[in-house]
Symmetry: C2
């Protein structure tokens, strides 16, 4: 069942201890859509500038993502640049040029109305709410960030009453709930009307609060992380993609956490969207099997492919 | 099967956003022994000053811990004081007075030789190695800290070739391995001769590397943490206690991770050893069942006692 992803497409310039890239494809919608494309048909609604060019889109097009909802506007594409610390856990933004993204007005076409699944990437919650109202999807989840939590708190909280789920960073969840303890923060956020809440913890994995239950998984242990940019959006893509494929029934949310974590693990293994471009179902499934084993109480019978022993 | 714990006993003064205590019972051996006492008979080898007094020992004695190996020396007991940040994740040491602990020489008695299980708390690795050689236990694990990693690296690495396992903080594991990536760090540490490695990640849980396998659990989600002091030592106590009770076979290491995490979760719910004093087997088992459920791929059938819904 199709998934509509609304969010940003950007040119990122990134420096990490493992190298540097300039003006490469990035943005929440790009990462999320590419990760989700291994699970379900994906459409993107976003905006780029007239400097974007068709070649920049190649990675997304090769995965048969429907790009007809990407608006090309006069001006420059959204640009972000940042640098990571030695352990990749700290990120410093060097520059943010919103450019055409500043006045982004997502255009929902007739064919998008009633789409079964919608992911509202991190944009102005006023826009997220308008899109949600226009699309009236079967199932919707969203992300957000500090800027909107602080600047448009009321609008954001109204949005959360209208979506099924929120997929958000640990620190942002605490800020949004006004509570430092994650468990208490989660209860407060669910009380806003959410069916589920996913808290992303970077290299420490992710936690799910849903239906009175708690579920937590470690990150898939990556030996050579290169660039964490887009990992959270790739998580959202794998998570939403699996739910779009299977439907939100029974243990599907827990399985979706596994696929979110798997797609995030691929994302960080190279700069930009490179590692997410040429995966296979088998590669993805192998990691999903391993990750399930990493949280199984039963020790596997024979040496597994656990990274510690390779 | 009995467990011998060698480590520190201290008077701690602690300030957190939830209150303040002065000169309360603390130290790695105290936390570890008390947590382990719910699983197996425990003996302690440690040193205190002549200011310690028998009343200070009451919490340990009530749990039938064998305290006859605690040496009382002329002078003051080890004192530590510190303050925690609002989210309890940052700790600043205000003062450390080693006092009688500075010249601690663990005394191994005839009855301790050949004890089935030994936990070497965080003391000088030269002493840890001597104790290991004197005791010749069936099974041994140890902890350490930055001070010894930097100051006595060679001795520490020789120690790791002689014990079965290392139970250590995330940042210390990276420092000891000279490698920022946890997976690579773990492989390097195992190559020193360890059968298993436990990496403690505080509120993010803990990871086990053993026998070619990786296993990770979240922390038990505590709603009202009060004081994290001793949580890592309580983890070690629950972990070692379960192994002493069950023996190191099959999935015992994974089960031991569960009990380590459960005992750490009780520890942080009050200052000092208070919460660890009056637990029951049922209280412990209830949390262990919940924690296993938090990492089960199968969604529980009915609303569980997950903290988010209470």
């Amino acid at each position: 069942m199709s998934l509509l992803v609304v969010g940003s497409i950007a040119f990122d310039s990134v420096r990490t201890p493992y190298g540097e890239v300039r003006e490469v494809l990035g943005g929440s919608a790009a990462y999320c859509a590419l990760a989700a494309s291994y699970f379900t048909p994906v459409r993107v609604v976003a905006v780029v500038g007239d400097d974007f060019g068709d070649a920049s889109m190649a990675a997304l097009r090769r995965r048969d993502i429907d790009l007809s909802g990407i608006e090309v506007r006069q001006g420059r594409t959204f640009r972000w640049s940042g640098v990571y610390s030695d352990d990749l856990n700290e990120r410093t933004t060097l520059s943010t040029e919103l450019n055409v993204f500043e006045s982004f007005q997502p255009k929902i076409r007739q064919q998008d109305v009633g789409i079964p699944n919608l992911f509202l990437g991190n944009i102005d919650p006023d826009l997220q709410r308008r899109v949600l109202g226009d699309v009236r999807p079967g199932f919707a989840a969203c992300d957000t960030m500090n800027f909107w939590i602080e600047g448009k708190n009321d609008s954001l909280k109204r949005l959360l009453g209208g979506v099924d789920g929120l997929v958000i960073n640990d620190s942002e969840a605490r800020l949004l709930a006004g509570e430092l303890n994650t468990v208490v923060a989660a209860r407060r956020l669910l009380a806003l009307g959410l069916r589920f809440l996913v808290i992303k913890r970077g290299e420490y994995g992710a936690a799910l609060f849903a239906g009175g239950h708690y579920f937590a998984i470690p990150a898939y242990p990556v030996e050579r992380p290169v660039d964490p940019t887009g990992a959270g959006d790739s998580f959202a893509g794998g998570f939403m993609g699996h739910l779009a494929r299977r439907g939100v029934t029974g243990g599907a949310l827990r399985e979706a956490m596994i696929y979110g974590s798997v797609m995030a693990s691929f994302c960080v293994e190279d700069f930009s969207l490179r590692r997410l471009q040429d995966l296979t179902q088998e590669t993805i499934e192998t990691r999903a099997v391993e990750l399930r084993q990493f949280l199984s109480m039963d020790e596997p019978p024979a040496p597994s492919r656990a990274p510690a022993t390779r």
